[in-house]
C-alpha cells in the first residue's frame, strides 16, 4: 500500500469529519444539524476504510448513516412544528463548557500524542480474514456479550413499541369512515412553561 494516497485520504476525511461535526454543534436550525451529521458519519466511515477495517466502513454507513441518522431525521420531521418553536438553543453553560472541553481535548490529545506508539510491523489482515476473525470471535470468545447485546436490542425494540403505543393511546387513529372528528392536535402554538 503506498503511503501518499492514504495520507491525502486521511487528511481530507479528517477535515470533512471535524468540520461537519463542528457544524453539527454550530448549526442554528436543528434539521441542519441533522443534515451535517451525514458528512460526519461518512467521513468516519472513510477513516475506517483508511484503517483497513472494511467491514466497519460498511457497518458505519449501514448503521449510523443508513439507520440511526434516518431515524433522527424522521423524528425531526415528524415533530417539525415543535422544532421550529422559538426556544433559546444555547444553554447558559456555554463558557464553562468551552473551557472544560478545551482542557479535556488538549490534555487528552497531548497525552495521546506524547505517548510513544511503537510502530506496528504487522500488516493488518485482509478484509476476508478480518470478517472471518470477527465472526469467529462473535460466536466464540464473545458469545455471551453477543447474546447480551441481542437481548438489549430486543428490549429496545419492545420498549420502542411500548412507547409508541402509550403515545398513541389518547388519540387513536381515525377510522377510515369517521372523518368528522376535528383534529385536536392543532393547539400547540405556544409552549406551556412548567412551574
Amino acid at each position: 500500500m503506498n503511503t501518499l494516497p492514504v495520507q491525502i485520504a486521511f487528511y481530507s476525511l479528517a477535515a470533512l469529519t471535524l468540520i461537519s461535526a463542528a457544524y453539527v454543534v454550530r448549526a442554528r436550525s436543528i434539521i441542519h444539524a441533522g443534515f451535517w451529521l451525514l458528512p460526519c458519519f461518512v467521513g468516519v466511515a472513510g477513516l475506517f476504510a483508511t484503517l483497513q477495517a472494511h467491514f466497519f466502513f460498511v457497518a458505519q454507513l449501514l448503521i449510523y448513516a443508513g439507520a440511526i441518522l434516518v431515524l433522527i431525521l424522521f423524528a425531526l420531521m415528524l415533530t417539525r412544528d415543535a422544532m421550529s418553536l422559538h426556544v433559546p438553543l444555547k444553554s447558559h453553560l456555554g463558557i464553562w463548557a468551552g473551557l472544560i472541553s478545551a482542557g479535556l481535548g488538549i490534555s487528552a490529545s497531548l497525552v495521546l500524542a506524547r505517548q510513544s506508539w511503537s510502530v506496528t510491523t504487522a500488516h493488518p489482515a485482509g478484509p476476508a480474514r478480518q470478517a472471518e476473525a470477527l465472526g469467529e470471535a462473535l460466536i466464540g470468545l464473545y458469545a455471551v456479550p453477543f447474546e447480551v447485546a441481542s437481548l438489549l436490542l430486543l428490549s429496545a425494540l419492545i420498549g420502542a413499541v411500548v412507547l409508541a403505543k402509550v403515545e398513541r393511546a389518547p388519540a387513536p387513529e381515525p377510522p377510515p369512515l369517521a372523518d368528522t372528528l376535528p383534529e385536536p392536535e392543532e393547539t400547540r402554538k405556544e409552549p406551556v412553561g412548567v412551574e
Binding site: 483497513q52 477495517a53 462473535l138 436490542l153 403515545e167
Partner: protein
C-alpha cells in the same frame, strides 16, 4: 506500510469527542444532544478501530460492534422518549424537563 500513524487517529478522535462534549453541554434541544452523543460514540469507535489496527487484535473491533448495537438501541428508545415527551409536555427545552428532579 501503514500510511498514517496511529496517534493521528487518536488525536482526531479526541477532537471529535471534544466537539461532542461541547455540543452536549451547550445545547438545549434533546435531539441535538442526541446527535452530539452520537458524535462522541463515533469518536470512541474510531479510537477502538485505530487501536485494533495498532495492536493487530480483534478486540478493538469487537467493542465497536457492541457500541454500534448500543447506539442503535439508544436511538430507538431515546427518540421514542423524546417524541413522547414532546407530545405530553409540549416543550423541547431540556432545562424544562425536570419531572424526575423533585
Amino acid at each position: 506500510m501503514l500510511g498514517v500513524p496511529t496517534e493521528y487517529f487518536l488525536v482526531l478522535s479526541g477532537i471529535l469527542f471534544t466537539i461532542g462534549v461541547i455540543g452536549v453541554l451547550i445545547k438545549r434541544n434533546p435531539i441535538v444532544i442526541f446527535m452530539c452523543i452520537e458524535l462522541m460514540l463515533n469518536a470512541v469507535n474510531l479510537t477502538f478501530i485505530a487501536l485494533g489496527r495498532h495492536f493487530v487484535h480483534v478486540n478493538g473491533q469487537m467493542y465497536v460492534i457492541f457500541v454500534m448495537a448500543v447506539a442503535a438501541a439508544e436511538v430507538a428508545i431515546g427518540l421514542g422518549i423524546i417524541v413522547a415527551l414532546f407530545r405530553s409536555k409540549e416543550t423541547i427545552n431540556i432545562d424544562e424537563v425536570n419531572l424526575m428532579k423533585y
